[in-house]
């Protein structure tokens, strides 16, 4: 096993072989479940109003990875999604663009062609999304195909089966290899926290993904309940903050699945600010994986500016 980047000696030691990796991950401090849930709930009650709310809404829009991951996806649907990404609210040109459009590999080209020159990234899920149950060759081919088609971000899933049965080395190898296959594309590592059961596991998986070179750690595929939750995101934000303290590198976090309202999104932004820090309030370091969230953000934005409640008749339905 080889560490992908030059790391401080303690972290480099951890990636030397499987047993030291296990020692490192199991040596991580346990998560205080009651404490983290209480803190997440406490920060969730913070009231963000008026100008700050408007600012938060615009920031959240610019952090959205506009996602469609359905078996029923068509090229037409992806194109309309790309149009929405460029100009989320056609009535109001001052609405920021979203950060990325997230699709299945075979739809990447359609999205990439429509987003040329816009600065909007195309993210593709890969590695036998969403279960991750396939051979390494297929996962690598899946990744290379997505990147060839024009994806600038790759969302991979880890092998939860291997992780839960303690084969950390295998998961590590996999992330390292996929990272190589990505080339210049950013790698987001989906932990699928809903299947990891405990916060301790989430912390271990986060560190594992960071050690292996993931640029982002992402909560969920969106296909498993529970998907993103505030406490889980807290634990992951702590991991990237600690990573920065130890290495000086900035890595991102992406909660995905189940974030549907502006209120939820703002709770996450508060958590980002309080747990990780101000510099993570940036689309390069924090994203929302969502499909319905954008419409609610747009409606709330209209409500703030117009002084009356808006409705779903005034936004595009995708």
């Amino acid at each position: 096993m080889a560490a992908p980047t030059t790391l401080p000696s303690a972290l480099a030691d951890a990636t030397r072989d499987e047993s030291s990796l296990r020692r490192f991950l199991h040596g991580l401090p346990g998560v205080d479940q009651v404490g983290v849930e209480q803190r997440a709930a406490g920060l969730g009650t913070r009231s963000i109003k008026k100008a700050s709310k408007l600012h938060a809404i615009d920031l959240a829009i610019s952090m959205v990875d506009l996602t469609t991951l359905e078996g029923a996806d068509t090229h037409g649907k992806v194109r309309s999604l790309a149009a929405k990404a460029r100009r989320p609210d056609p009535d109001r040109p001052d609405v920021p663009q979203v950060a990325a459009v997230c699709v299945y590999p075979d739809m990447v080209k359609t999205a990439a062609d429509d987003l040329v020159g816009t600065g909007i990234n195309v993210a593709s899920v890969a590695t036998a999304f969403p279960s991750g149950r396939s051979t390494m060759d297929i996962k690598l081919a899946d990744t290379r195909f997505a990147v060839e088609q024009g994806a600038s971000e790759v969302d991979m899933v880890i092998d939860r089966g291997a992780f839960l049965s303690g084969r950390y080395g295998q998961v590590f190898e996999e992330i390292v290899k996929i990272k190589e296959a990505c080339g210049d594309a950013h790698l987001k590592v989906i932990l699928e926290t809903g299947e990891l059961v405990t916060y301790d596991n989430v912390r271990r998986a986060s560190w594992l993904a960071l050690l292996a070179g993931g640029d982002f750690i992402k909560t969920s595929t969106g296909k498993v309940q529970p998907a993103a939750t505030l406490p889980v995101t807290h634990v992951m934000l702590q991991a990237v903050r600690d990573w920065k303290d130890q290495t000086g590198e900035l890595r991102g976090v992406k909660p995905a699945g189940g974030i549907r309202t502006t209120k939820d999104a703002i709770k996450y932004l508060v958590a980002v600010h309080e747990v990780a820090g101000r510099e993570w309030l940036d689309p390069h370091l924090f994203r929302f994986g969502a499909s319905t969230l954008l419409n609610d953000l747009l409606m709330q934005r209209r409500t703030q500016l117009d002084g009356h409640y808006s409705g779903p008749d005034y936004v595009t339905v995708d």
Partner: protein, 287 residues
């Protein structure tokens, strides 16, 4: 032996089939016409109204999609439950409106009969208001009435039960869903009606009942982008024009009732007709 201390009630709102407290945490005392305390009612806020509209919108697809016959059955079942609560309604109407028991009794009976009257209309609306149109071409052309959507109802301020039922029943009979702001000073019969609706077969969200200050909440419903129609019956005179103006901003249907509407008289179809859209379909006749 000491006298028993009665349990003073603090009621809640009725939104989406549940009884939540007001988001604002406020409540206000309700008194009878002589000023004696009756109960505390929740004082709804604009956010409660917003949540109610969301609930009503969510319920609209299901309620408007049921067959007219089934809607009639559901409404008739409500009348049965109303009948079971007759004594409670009589006491509350007598307390709220300051009328004698005998008068209250007749008001409650008329109210229940009114509900049954509208329940009977559900499967007749299409026959009466729809038509098959003679057109100059080889087509069938049909016009059918369809519910308009979410209706914001400002319930009459004086007639606390009969008036309330006279404005809610026609809205839901034709398949609309509604958000009702009750009479500000006489909300108790409306609260009991919400308990009746919750224990009958009406799906949650079809009727949402908010107690509180009409003048505070009404403007938010009048301007709301997801409300399709507005019933001004209980609107305070001072804000009526403003409500109409802001309702025009989102092209709502507005029902401006006649002044001093007599709810004891048998109604006509006007309230049913007010919340309907006409859909016309052309179909080639074939050979």
């Amino acid at each position: 032996m000491s006298d028993r201390i009665t349990v003073a009630k603090t009621y809640k709102l009725y939104i989406g089939g549940k009884f939540p407290r007001s988001e604002s945490g406020r409540s206000y005392p309700v008194a009878d016409t002589k000023g004696a305390f009756l109960a505390n009612a929740a004082q709804g806020s604009r956010k409660d109204a917003r949540d109610a509209v969301t609930a009503a919108r969510k319920a609209f697809g299901g309620w408007s999609g049921t067959t007219a016959y089934n809607r009639g059955q559901v409404l008739y079942r409500v009348a049965e439950v109303l009948e079971g609560r007759r004594e409670q309604f009589i006491t509350e109407v007598a307390g709220s409106e300051g009328v004698a028991l005998k008068k209250a009794q007749s008001l409650v009976d008329t109210a229940i009969d009114r509900w049954v009257w509208y329940a009977g209309w559900t499967d007749k609306i299409a026959a009466v208001l729809g038509s098959s149109n003679p057109v100059a071409g080889p087509y069938f052309s049909f016009s059918t009435p369809e519910p308009t959507g979410v209706v914001a109802v400002l319930a009459p301020q004086q007639s606390s039960l009969l008036g309330l039922i006279s404005v809610i029943a026609p809205v839901i009979a034709s398949g609309n869903t509604c958000v009702v702001i009750t009479s500000q000073d006489r909300p108790l019969p409306a609260i009991t009606l919400s308990e009746v609706l919750a224990t009958s077969d009406v799906p949650g969200g079809v009727v949402n009942i908010i107690t509180g200050r009409t003048a505070e909440i009404a403007p938010w419903l009048a301007s709301h982008g997801d409300v399709n129609a507005l019933d001004l019956t209980g609107a305070p005179e001072s804000i009526r024009a403003d409500l109409e103006r802001s309702a025009a901003g989102t092209v709502k249907r507005v029902l401006r009732n006649k002044a001093g509407e007599d709810f004891t008289a048998t109604p006509d179809m006007s309230r049913l007709r007010a919340y309907l859209e006409t859909k016309t379909v052309w179909h080639p006749m074939g050979v």
